[in-house]
Symmetry: C2
Subunit: 563 residues, 2 copies
């Protein structure tokens, strides 16, 4: 069968984008080819809002047949955090059939070379981008994100992270030339001369283990990094968030087939309720790479047990913001209020512990006591979420009952500075929508330490009273080194404190946002510019995205002969 | 204290060399700044042969005081494979004192930046290069290599591998800029603008666990990769091969101090006989990187147990040469004879299994039966080593009694095609010098398989009769996937067989040398051009040297604030 998409077409279409991505990761200036605004879609083959919604609606109750070999059953059962039953069923795989089938196409995919693999990946991303409106609904109704966030984080931002991974993967593979002529002088004798050929080869089958909250954003980097480096990729979505990754697999399979490759290079492993296939898959000898986002417990298990694979994990951390002083008190409060509220704090980057000196802080409006700062922050969050429509648009829904239970329990951990409030969602009456709780704790009390030194995933923040800025920096160091952190924030006008916080982050290896008071938030990172995680503290063993994220997904085989 | 070596001086002196190294790893053409010929030394501050020998002689019986903190004793006791007692003693460290001291200088080393670290490393290599003659004797009298090999492999070739690692480490760190301005348009509103600073930060203290046979060649890549990426490096030499690495540590400490850095960034961990400190060190929380060359057993132990560290291992493999046909029979025989003989086969890259069809092979001189090929190869080895002086210069000495015992036992495994011969060394009467043994085995017999499917390190080769070329390729695949291989060789004039062998090496991830008949040997790799190992089969989890070897030795911390 002749390929419908030729290398020439794909390279002509996507090489300029790849080159721009390569330039972006070198300069780390702002760049994205994926529009953030919903109204930007609807032309040149992309679905507009209505078409995207219709496409999503058509999926409900359907069987998503991916044409995978070894399909022995159909499984499904996702319930949206907004209350609707998705009713989509997916292929359940006999992995003893599926895994060998996934390996069958690897030779051709390897031989296609780094550039062809990159542009095929870009074509997959382009088709996903065209369906951003459809994906937005799929992400919204699996993660519980509000529509606008599901649209942006689950659409263009996720596509950016995928493209970034393709760019890193490409540049890593072409660091070594395809061929070399090696001629070593031998004095008066003839030189020694060898012809060498270098081929990037895949490790095998890569496994992506998806998460509930950001199925595409957290899934795309590993998926595209592994695929672009020549590996087949098996996607094991979170049972509550199958649809966005199943659609992704569907698009990837279509593009691979049209480009003349085996569609089984990308496949889905959906599971029955309670089946727990991640452990089984993760230790299969065919699986040589694993990308995982989720709990620390299972991440640690993977690192310890999936010894046959390269394991990239993003687990959990305890994110800290140190509040010492500011010259923009209102800006600080509103920036923090937004960070605590966005997606009900259900981001791995949401601040949890706010360290505030018990003697208070300096502001441009004069000193503020610890109690005043906490009360002002509570008021700021309350104001941000005072209007129910705006609150719904910012908070989204609580993703699962565990988060709700943690939120309810948090109120018993200390004095509640801001109580969580139940918000009705008129469009989705069954959605569980809650505003964040802020609890006051004392950094010197062992019982309180036990509470704030563990991750409490969800809309829960602790206003931790500390003795001094130095005490706060020491606690920050302890928190990062023992629990990890995806993000650290700090507010200070003191050069000395800024220096101490920076040094703590450099030594404990955490990403730091300083004095954010405007429209950028500590819990948001931009692809091509910001690193997500550091890979150097217990929260994650990898960062999105750097050379280390891609360099060990392939190896280079050299074949040399005399010239 | 003002630094004696300023950044300006070091950059002016070494940046051109670094740039040439960067170009070499991009093109992988021949390049080396380190002369291979002994007579090239003696000018511009380098030691000539006599001065190098005198410097080595002056070391014998001395105490090598490195000025390390926490030195609680003096240990030593190396006996040269050539029979002389070195009598050098080294500091024994109280690691609870030494490890904290090694961390004290890390902040300044981190803040110096990638370029300064690179040129400091190049200055260390330059001073080692100047003392190549001295190092040659140190390597000879610890590894048992013959002088000329100790000179080249232990001198310029090892220095090349160290420089190559510095080049990879440098380029990896500067892929991310030091600073970035990020400006995101917001339609009619003001753009979002952030200033970002990116800092490569070290993982912590790196541990280099040296080997007996190539203390510098196998030690330098990890040592320099870790140091150049900002880590402190603790060098734990093999108890029988301390001196070359102790001298290396001494030079590194001198240069670091002269450049204004803490000399404790590099330290030695020599041990008492039977102390076995590698296990203790490898699991210390301060140790975050480990480079190891040695047995599969301990390498596997490190990978399983040193979970707090990034572990780079070169273990053991079963190297195979497939002999199917040739158009240069004599060239093939003499090339193979040299590979089997060099350093008494005590290289991790020496071929062990020669797979030869039992029906014989095609040559430009007509067909040769299996028995003829083996007999001709035995004759070729015999001829190469017929002259005792030449044999001594090629074979060196047997490095330890284990190798001698394996050699003696090998003769009982099958029909001996070439018996090992004892050779007297007139200069060093106590040296154990032996020619290789070649044993005939049958690839179809289970007992024989049990023999040739395990690494038999030393001057032992097995001429394995196989049913066909296809059978040989299948056996090659099984061998690589189950036992690993540092090298694979093949001789064939058949396009079909060449294709099959190449595909086996690409799929099983092993480095292949095809039809070598001249002055390049399957067991030799050249820095800047050849990869040593693939990192993709059980023989080693890393290759020398590529991006994956350096990318995870540091992390990048981002500090961002509003512009």
């Amino acid at each position: 069968m002749a390929a419908e998409l030729t290398a020439h077409q794909l390279i002509a279409q996507h090489r300029p984008t790849l080159d721009q991505a390569l330039e972006a990761i070198r300069t780390r200036a702002y760049w994205s080819p994926h529009p953030e605004h919903p109204k930007a879609y609807g032309e040149n083959g992309s679905l507009d809002a209505a078409a995207g919604k219709a496409a999503f609606d058509a999926l409900l109750g359907s069987r998503l047949d991916l044409g995978q070999p070894g399909t022995d059953d159909w499984v499904g059962g996702e319930t949206s955090p907004y209350g609707i039953e998705l009713g989509v069923t997916y292929p359940h795989a006999d992995v003893d059939t599926l895994l060998p089938a996934m390996r069958a196409g690897q030779r051709a995919w390897r031989d296609a070379g780094a550039e062809m693999r990159a542009v095929v990946c870009l074509e997959i991303l382009k088709r996903i981008s065209d369906r951003t409106h459809e994906f937005a609904h799929a992400v919204m109704h699996t993660s519980g994100q509000a529509f606008m966030m599901a649209f942006q984080a689950g659409g263009p931002h996720a596509q950016d992270r995928g493209l970034e991974a393709v760019a890193y993967a490409y540049v890593e593979q072409v660091r070594t030339p395809d061929n070399a002529e090696w001629t070593k002088p031998q004095g008066k004798r003839d030189p020694l001369a060898l012809t060498k050929r270098f081929t990037p080869v895949p490790r095998g089958v890569a496994l992506v283990i998806g998460c509930n909250t950001f199925p595409t954003w957290n899934g795309y980097p590993g998926l595209f990094a592994s695929l672009a480096t020549g590996n087949a990729v098996l996607v094991k979505p979170h049972p509550r968030a199958v649809l966005p990754l199943a659609l992704t697999v569907q698009v990837a399979r279509e593009v691979l087939a049209e480009a003349g490759f085996d569609p089984n290079l990308v496949a889905l492993a959906a599971e029955r309720a309670g089946e727990g296939i991640a452990k089984t898959l993760a230790t299969r000898p065919e699986i040589r790479i694993i990308d995982y986002t989720g709990s620390t417990g299972f991440g640690d298990w993977l690192e310890a047990n999936a010894r046959q694979a390269q394991v990239y994990t993003e687990k959990a951390g305890v994110n800290t913001v140190l509040v010492e002083s500011t010259d923009n008190y209102k800006g600080m409060l509103s920036n923090l209020a937004f960070s605590l509220s966005l997606y009900s704090g259900q981001m791995c980057t949401t601040p949890q512990n706010l360290l505030i000196p018990r003697d208070g802080i300096r502001t441009e409006e004069g000193p503020r006591s610890y109690d005043e700062v906490v009360a002002d922050l509570a008021r700021s969050v309350g104001g941000l979420l005072g209007d129910d429509a705006r609150a719904n648009g910012l908070l989204g829904a609580i993703v699962n009952p565990d988060v709700k239970a943690r939120l309810e329990a948090a109120a018993g951990l200390g004095e509640v500075a801001l109580a969580s409030r139940e918000i009705a969602n008129p469009e989705f009456p069954d959605a569980v929508v809650r505003t964040p709780v802020i609890v006051k704790l004392d950094g010197a009390k062992p019982d309180d330490q036990a509470a704030f030194m563990n991750e409490c995933f969800g809309p829960v923040s602790f206003a931790v009273a500390v003795d001094s800025a130095a005490d706060a920096v020491a606690l920050l160091r302890r928190t990062i080194s023992s629990k990890g952190a995806m993000t650290v924030g700090a507010y200070t006008t003191s050069e000395e404190v800024e220096e101490a916080v920076q040094e703590a982050c450099l030594e404990e290896c955490a990403q730091l946002s300083l004095n954010l008071t405007g429209g950028v938030y500590v819990n948001q990172t931009a692809a091509f510019s910001d690193f997500h995680g550091s890979g150097g503290n217990p929260a994650a063993n990898a960062a999105l995205c750097d050379g280390a994220f891609v360099a060990n997904r392939f190896r280079v085989v050299e074949i040399r002969k005399e010239a």
